[in-house]
Amino acid sequence: MMSFNLLVFVALGYVAFLFIVAFAAERRARLGQSGWLRSPLIYTLSLSIYCTAWTFYGAVGYAARSGLEFVTIYLGPTLVMVGWWLILRRLVRIGRTQRITSIADLISSRFGKSTQLGMIATLIAVVAGTPYIALQLQSVTLSFAVFAEAGGEGWQTADLNRAAVWVAVGLAIFTVLFGTRNLDANERHHGIVMAIAVEAVVKLVALLAVGIFVVWGIGGGAAAVLEQIDQSPIANWDQSGGRWASLIFLSAAAFLCLPRMFQVLVVENADEAHLRTASWAFPLYLLMMSLFVIPIAVVGLNIMPEGANPDLFVLTVPLATGQDGLAMLSFLGGFSSATSMVIVATIALATMVSNHIVVPLWLNTGRTTGASISGDVRRVIVTARRLSIAGVLALGYLYYRLSGGGTALAAIGLVSFSGAVQVLPVMLGGIFWRGATRVGAVMGLLTGFVVWTWTLFLPSFGSAVVSAEVMAMGPMGLSWLRPEALFGVAGLDPLVHGLLWSMLLNTAAFFIGSVLSFPTPLERLQGAQFVNVFADTAGAQTWASSGAGAEDLLIMAQRILGGSEAQAIFQRHAKEQGKDGFLPDVTPDFIARLERELAGSVGAATAHAMIGQLTEGASVSVEDLIAVADEAAQIMEYSNQLEAKSAEQERTARALRAANDKLTALSVQKDAFLSQISHELRTPMTSIRSFSEIMRDMDMDAADKARHAGIIHDEAVRLTRLLDDLLDLSVLENGQVTLNSERGVLSDLITRAVDSAGASSRKIAISRKPAREAVVLETDLDRLVQVFINLIANAAKYCDAETPELKIIVRDIDGQTTVDFVDNGSGILPGHQDMIFEKFARLADEKRAGGAGLGLAICREIMERLGGSIAYVPGQGGAAFRVSLPKARAIAAS
């Protein structure tokens, strides 16, 4: 039999080992070698503080009493973890972007950085958390007692109490040492996380070792143990459905809401991606922790004497079978479970108490405006936190003493859980529902807290606090207020009853209060940031332009963070703004970011209040919100304008490209024309020269002379015509033409034109409708006829049909007289259609062309001078030109 002193020695050695681990981790983190300290594995193991001594010892006891029901406590967290994408991912993201320090901070920050809400949430957490800490102290002292008894030293109550004091003091020292070493801007505690990760391994190994020993060492293998289960007192599967479902819900909710779980899940989370691993690894851990619970319970019930405490089977079974080493390991496992939970819970509660109760009160005493010494607020906070740690542990010890440390404590675990989950509706509402307001949150929390206190918490103390008479008849004879049968709902399991009513009324009050109240601007801003955390991670503006100087802000930041850290932050911001030195420009953005840095140390509400003092309350107002909205609208407007502009530019660019193409084509044609025109000019010149040479150098008779002179004359006429055309065009283009306005009938003009086209027009059949041509015009008739002649001559010249035909159609379109000249040839290719009216234009492959390509250009110029137009009409079965006569001059024949 091992001595009790050896046990104490081993326990102390284990504690010393944890100290070293924590120190080493802190050291590594400080040196920046925190690589594997921030791994998903460490994160997963740190979550194991969910498995407290209540799990380590209590689960077996629970199983021995109620069978499989114990497992519900681990099913809930499993569901939350495998469904991490739904809630946890959002919580962690919000926690990181908003620098959340605790669950009270989350709620306070979400609802407009309300100090009041932070206090309420803190109060609930402390009241619900204290019994749980007491439970841990009890389990450690009980396990000491077991060994003392085994060692032959029977422990009295006084010994137990003394042990509890020592355990509490030891835990306080450890927690103060590692929990308040640095008032880190992001509230991470590497030493503690590392220590609890080690403890997580120890407790898992211990429980698995005991389980394996029990199943294969005593029970005789898995199959035999299963058989034993079916023979045991817990063999009957008659699980109450209400309790089973309620407990799964309760444990899932508590996993999210317990302050210590929030601390490790959200605050200590180093990387969002760790959730991915933890989502399956932590359920696996829970599974392994629960695997041997029922076998240990069943085997314990079989081999231990009647009346042995099943809560301690994990210890007593190895001891009773003489496995001292295993018992020692098991003791260390239980010790680890208890201490790790107490440490983290204490830190979480102390952070909440100092940030949401002590510091706001201290700020209210008005001493803040006095001498501003660098780091003085920091000292207050650190002191407050240390005192809070001691205070929370003292409360736990006090509770342990007051409750007598008996079986009443064992029942408190679930009651404590249901107290903690009173923040669930407000928390989920806050992160998923923008309509949730501060008033609603206060109403919900208070309602839930009151109902929980009345139906679960007070009755858990037994008849000392709530008399049997009140339990049976209700307070002052009001039977509908009986703690375990509110509003006459009797017959439910007390836990299910209390949980149901507290959650229902809590949620209802929260919802009604939110719907009926109107949020402040800050609440609305925060609400939008929390709910839309994935859509918009950039912080919105919470500060209007302020009168605070950068120096004042630096002094204040130094008071909270200490000199060097504050200066580093200011320097960084100044550098980002492109300035040297320590004082950045005080922009609203800078203030908002500074506030967030401070919030990482003292919580959102305090940080907001402290900055508010400097900026003289120039916090965001409804007007600012509207201005921000306007700004957003303006930005959208501006971007729309930009879009429109770029579309317009694209259109312009297209037009320019088209113009450029046309210019290029024209330039090519111009070159072609120049060579053409020189050719055209040269041909008659050549013949004139050669014939005149012949006439000069050779003797010939009069007839030949006359013939040659005739040729020379014809060529000269051709030359003149060409030059006339060119002159004509240039005159028309320069606007130097004089128009002789006369009256005439359209049919006469067309007849004149057909006749004048002369020889060429005889080759082509012309069809007209004289009845329609009876239109009286007043314009320069000669010029108009010139256009008609040109079109008819063109048709005769270019129409490539077997039997060329030209239709001349007169129409009245919208009061404007048009004359169409449509032939039955192959028309003009689409690519050439916009080119034919340019001067020098002549379709390159036309061999039959007699002119120099000036005809249509002249026509266009004439029509423009006359106030009409000429256009090519595609798709008429041949080349079709439409001459639109000047509107005002076209007078219907009467």
Partner: protein, 87 residues
């Protein structure tokens, strides 16, 4: 969600897979609840031994499923920003 930023109506195959993977992850806890509430409906069909095996079996199943899904998931896929909109 952000105004002015258009969301694609159809996605490439890979991002489509990612979306459905997230849907599956969302459904996982629902599946767990259903499977674990099932034993409540058992009436005299076996004792605690069977129930223990069933509950732990479901547990292992969920863990394996969660591990498979979470491993294939790309947490910050490019189309992450608006994922709340399509439920």
């Amino acid at each position: 969600m952000t105004p002015g930023k258009e969301r694609a109506v159809f996605l490439a195959r890979a991002s489509y897979r990612q979306r459905r993977l997230r849907d599956a992850l969302r459904m996982l806890p629902v599946l767990g609840v259903i499977l674990w509430l099932l034993p409540l409906l058992w009436r005299g069909a076996g004792g605690t031994g069977i129930a223990v095996q069933y509950v732990f079996g479901v547990w292992v199943f969920l863990i394996v499923l969660a591990a498979l899904l979470s491993r294939r998931l790309v947490p910050d896929a490019p189309d992450d920003a608006g994922e709340d909109a399509d439920g």
